[in-house]
Amino acid sequence: MSNLSGTNHKNGLRNSRKILVVGDKGFFAESVINHSIHLAERLGYDLVALSVDVQCEGRAFGNSAASTRRLLEMADRHGIYCSQMVRSGDIEFAVEDTIHEIKRVEIVVIESETNSESIRNISVPIVSVLSDTNKKGDTSMVASKSSKAVVIGKTAGYGVVSAAFCAAAFTHADTIAQICSRGGWYAAVPITTVLVFSFVHGAFAHNLWSALGIEAFKRDQVRQTEHKVIEKRKLQRKRPRAYAPVNPFHRID
């Protein structure tokens, strides 16, 4: 174990099959780390953590170093050999260069939120891991706790307004009934009331389900990625191959 932790931080690469874990902007999401470790354990491959960063300074660096360290620690704990590389520039070129340099990369693992369509064109199968992070990729525990608090706050806020609305409508039921029953231009009263209530109560309902953890399942990104990988494989298969017919009866003296 200690040997592994010693070589983890050097760029020592073994001649075994590898999974390339790509950290866009140098950051590795929790879901990406988990998935890579699971895959590597199951397949018996090594891991290579590739940090692709345009600038290695400022706040971004702090977060990315922490997440890289986490990936290395996790790999070490699970007995997986993990090495680390840093590249800068376009993510697609960085990944392709790395694949050609280190050889035997079988799978590339990236986060589904990675902001690059062109990465889907690389020559190795991609596993796109769904993340439940926001677009900025900020998955720190503090951030997720505070966003949960915001959702609960919004639920409570909209809930109070919605309840107040209903209370007002019921305590003044007679007046409202009179206005609604007048018809004509007074039609605007029930229509507007209903629309305003729908906005408030709709927002409350949305935040309530989010607060309870019931949210939409984002499977379209995975489906798109799978589709592109399959299409790419089909194209690769169609490429003409060199064919050298061998005559088994030809004698070579």
């Binding site: 704990r77 039609a187 229509i191």
Partner: protein, 354 residues
Amino acid sequence: MHDIANEAVKFIDLNVTYVIFLFVLGFIGGLVSGFIGSGGAFVLTPGMMSLGVPGTIAVASNMCHKFPKALVGAYKRFKYGQVDIKLGLILAASAGLGVQIGIKIQRFILEKWGQAGSDLYVSVSFVIVLIVVGAYILLDAMKISKSGGSERVSLIARKLQSINLPPMITFKTANVRISFWFTVPVGFATGMLAATIAVGGFIGVPGMIYMLGVSGLVSSATELVIAFVMGLGGSINWAMHGMVDIRLVLIILAGSLLGVQLGAIGTTYVKEYMIKVVMATIMLIVAVSRGLAIPRYLNQLGVMSIGQNSVKMLDAVSFVSMCLALLIGAIIILAAMYRAKKSAYTPKALAEAR
């Protein structure tokens, strides 16, 4: 106009039981609506009437809750990329025409054969449409689930799409290119059925799937756009007649806005053919429910004679089975969501796995 209002304005007194009943009914109706694009409305009107709400006020209040619910549902499913707005608006235009013709036919039958005749017409329409369409959808859904879960465009739709009859329209989200003229009957039938049995989606959604070749997911989402447009138009009409009881609308909305969002979320968890399964199940049970109400109208018209007690019993069974249809639909949706959520891959925290 105002005579009807003065006569029928008996807004009922509400107590806690009524409020809870309407809230729960609204929630389940919203859940089904968010999932299959329609439904719930046909239970709410009789549901309100069973509490003593006069018929016209029940219909008006129902319609006034339908359009904001459809708006919220459509918005949510639009964010999931399931709504084809262009298709929805084009179908809504011909649906508007269908509603007007449907209302005229209703009025004609009412004048010729009275209330019983009108109710009989409505019930027979229910039974025929729901059994034929419901059975077809169920068989299709069973075929898809046996063949491994991938929807295929129907033969009719493929034939219609290949006919080049200008103007040809491309619907991007629905991924369909078809002549405008083939969308007209689908929209028209939706409007007519909405005017007759208050649920246009039971023709609209299958029409989009089997005639236009749109997927189950996109058609149920797009139906909400049609429901919004029709509901808004109808609500303004009823509100101008002073028929809307805002308290009933708010209670039902409180439940249905919760339900419609949950139903919309549910569509992202389940396989696409589940929408067909839920729709077909509800349609077939409601067909039975409405079928049980037919003897009462035949009795009133003098075509057959049955005892008063039997009529009462049939009415009760009819109403209960209608509520049951919604409840079963809701249970199927929630069970499917629960199963899908459980089996979705979530990486375990690695620290615990060690």
